[in-house]
Amino acid sequence: MRVVIGEDSLLLREGLARLLEETGHEVVARAGDAEELLRKVGAHKPDLAIVDVRMPPSFTDEGIRAALTIRDRSPQVAVLVLSEHVESTYALELFADGTDGLGYLLKQRVSDLDQFADAVSRVAGGGSALDPEVVSHLLGRHRRGDPLDSLTPREREVLGLMAEGRSNYAIAERLVITERAVEKHVTSIFSKLDLPPTADAHRRVLAVLKYLEAPAGAG
């Protein structure tokens, strides 16, 4: 896979590049700030852009904005946003208009090569990847008379994995249950949360996130 890296820290940029090359990817360009990243993505048309959130000049959320710009300008380029620490606020901003071909992960997840490879292939395949920490924070928000409380523990697990962007197959494998059982859980969850049923795995991630994003107290 052809990859462009946007990361201002030389140490991490080179570490990431080495790791990607060692796992069979081709790093076609490296950028130290958002502007350079957008230019190189435009020039190289890679399969994937890996983007750090905090970059010059303001070191706040340049990466989020760059990711959205890339998705807007070059829809065929998947974007994986990495951050030293993840916040659900940024995740929701990133996924506000759609989750396809977008990922948001803690930087250190890269070191789990299998998980990282899984996230990369999901995002590059037009799916999504959301860090488990963000998902657990979103599920951890409490609302008065929260319908989430009516979910069984297993259903909560399935909801979390769905929110991370995993397919029914991946969820079944992870929980060591049949895909049929996963489908049953999903139907039950959507009915309990009063969400319209959808078979499309991509669309349902967005539905789940919109549901979890709803302001506290509104549910």
Binding site: G15, L16, R18, E22, Q108, S111, G140, R141, A216
Partner: protein, 595 residues
């Protein structure tokens, strides 16, 4: 014991140097010569019918103006009133030229016969400072001068005969015999004169109304005699102009002469009253300076008749003056229309009085008021010093808080750019090492445990950075930061309300750490299972409320966490209220002003 320190105050308290003494003596001599000359002119006049009256007028009125004027100038060198008085005398003497038998001198005397009326008007408007302060004042006086002079110059230029004496010296300044033109000019000038006189009268009435009781007592004799004089002289000029019967004219002349003679004595009366009222003023002031008295500034301002009076207090610590509120103060520079006097007590500076520059002509009064006020002012100074210290403490506390916030942000950034990146990089390298160790099961197991430790370490480092300063709070504000805090809390937290917009940074930071610390306490010490957070705004105050269902018994006096919150809130003029009955849960409410 107490004294007014006049030398350093930019205020001349001395009665003048030796050079001015010569000037005064010279002017007195010139005046005497002038008077003698005028008397000689009257005695030798071939056309004056009432020589006795003229000698009394020239020999009494002019010298008394000149003498009182020189006396006043001698006592109050910065006040021009004395010089104007002297000028009235000089202008009066000039009218004696009419007595001369020489045609040219006679004509000049005729032409300048109204000048002294204008100088008297000038004196009245300029009283008590001797200066024309405003534009209106200057214009009125100029109109009066021009009208008065034109009125008497016009007939000299355009009428062969004045018809006022027999025999009449020949008119040497006649340009052309044009009685109609002369009358026209005279009428215009008379209207101007009358208008200016009315204007001056209005001005004096207004000034009278604006004066305090003490000021009125001083200016009353001068103002009223002067006003009567201007009125009488204007009337006389009108009578002459309209050709009124000689009886009426003579009667008016007599009235004017009496009034003229009264003016310098009125001025002397004013001077005397000034001393008299000073005694009154001091009695009043001392009464008001009793501990029960209201504002010392009010008391002194009333005593000096200067509502603009300011008091500033000496701060020995900084060697500078501050206002009663403790704010830094400046003493006025020259030419600002303000003067000041420094007041000391037992050799130590206490305060400075800043007043209208015209009061600088009353050095004895200023000095007496300063002395009477020194003790009371010393008390006020101590209070001003306290207020100044409080203001400084508040400022430095706010600076410390700002510095602390900046430092927290810096540490968070340093962690992000330094340690965190190195550990993430290390984690990546270990991942590659793991890949290359394929087959070496024992080594991989060891490595796996190292990587697990590293992951935990990184998670702890993230929490530490967030605890020092959450980047989310800076970048996105209170609502997302509180939501994130609630989601990560080790107990069930419901966020009921958080303002959407941004609040001042220090308020946001304080609110965030109050919630953070409270939730930590709820979970750790109160064994609470659930908590609610509400941050609202009420009339410029942010209200942060955290409730839990724990065991209660929280006390902000103990436990460094709550103690630190109390200090942080105090620096923002906020307050913390903790309601935590044993077994009844804890309700913590912080109020932070945020304008």
């Amino acid at each position: 014991m107490a004294h007014a320190n006049g030398e350093s105050a930019g205020l001349a308290l001395s009665a003048g140097g030796p050079r001015r003494r010569w000037v005064v003596a010279g002017l007195a001599l010139a005046g005497a010569i002038g008077v003698a000359g005028a008397v000689a002119l009257v005695l030798t006049s071939d056309h004056e019918t009432d020589k006795a009256f003229q000698i009394v007028a020239g020999g009494v009125v002019a010298p008394s103006f000149m003498a009182t004027g020189l006396f006043a100038w001698w006592r109050r060198p910065r006040n021009h009133t004395g010089l104007l008085m002297y000028a009235v005398g000089v202008a009066f003497l000039l009218t004696a030229l009419k007595e001369s038998n020489a045609p040219a001198a006679f004509d000049v005397g005729l032409a300048l016969s109204n000048l002294f009326v204008a100088v008297v008007a000038h004196l009245l408007v300029a009283f008590p400072t001797g200066r024309l302060e405003g534009r209106v004042e200057r214009r009125l006086v100029v109109v009066f001068y021009v009208s008065a002079v034109v009125l008497s110059v016009a007939p000299v230029l355009f009428k062969r005969s004045c018809g006022c004496t027999t025999p009449e010296p020949r008119n040497v300044f006649l340009i052309a015999e044009a009685p109609a033109l002369a009358t026209a000019v005279e009428v215009v000038a008379a209207i101007g004169l009358l208008a200016a006189a009315v204007g001056i009268a209005v001005l004096l009435v207004r000034r009278w109304r604006a004066s305090s009781g003490a000021q009125r007592r001083v200016i009353a004799p001068v103002l009223w005699t002067g006003a009567a004089l201007v009125a009488a002289l204007s009337l006389l000029v009108l009578l002459q102009l309209t050709g009124a019967p000689t009886v009426a004219q003579n009667a008016m002349t007599a009235v004017s002469a009496v009034t003229i003679a009264a003016v310098p004595f009125a001025f002397l009366a004013g001077l005397l009253r000034m001393r008299y009222t000073r005694a009154d003023i001091m009695g009043d002031l001392v009464g008001k300076l009793q501990p029960t008295g209201s504002s010392i500034r009010e008391a002194i301002a009333t005593a000096l008749g200067d509502p603009s009076l300011q008091l500033v207090y000496w701060r020995a610590q900084t060697g500078a003056y501050v206002t009663a509120d403790g704010q830094p103060a400046q003493l006025p520079a020259d030419g600002e229309g303000r003067a000041f006097v420094e007041i000391a007590r037992e050799g130590e500076p206490v305060a400075a009085m800043i007043f209208d520059a015209t009061l600088a002509d009353e050095p004895e009064l200023i000095s007496a008021v300063s002395s009477a006020g020194a003790l009371a002012l010393d008390n006020e100074r101590l209070q001003a010093e306290l207020r100044a210290r409080i203001a400084e403490l508040e400022e430095s506390r706010a600076r410390v808080l700002d510095a602390e916030l900046a430092e927290r942000r810096r540490i968070e950034r340093d962690l992000h750019d330094g340690a965190q990146q190195r550990f993430v990089s290390l984690s990546m390298t270990l991942a590659l090492l793991d890949r290359r160790l394929a087959g070496a099961a024992a080594e991989r197991e060891l490595l796996a445990s190292a990587r697990e430790e590293l992951d935990l370490g990184l998670a702890e480092l993230r929490e530490l950075a967030r605890g020092i300063h959450p980047a989310l709070l800076t970048e996105r504000g209170l609502a997302p930061a509180i939501e994130a805090l609630a989601a990560r809390a080790p107990l069930k937290v419901r966020v009921l309300e958080v303002p959407d917009g941004r609040l001042p940074t220090q308020v946001e930071t304080a609110a965030y750490f109050i919630v953070s610390e409270s939730l930590t306490n709820s979970a750790k010490h109160a064994s609470a299972a659930a908590a609610t957070v509400r941050i609202g705004r009420d009339n410029g105050t942010a209200i942060v409320e955290v409730r839990d269902d724990g065991v209660g018994g929280a006390d902000p006096a103990r436990g460094s966490g709550l103690r630190g919150l109390v200090d942080r809130l105090a620096a923002l003029d906020g307050a913390l209220e903790v309601d935590s009955p044993a077994g009844g849960g804890t309700r913590l409410q912080a109020r932070i002003p945020c304008a």
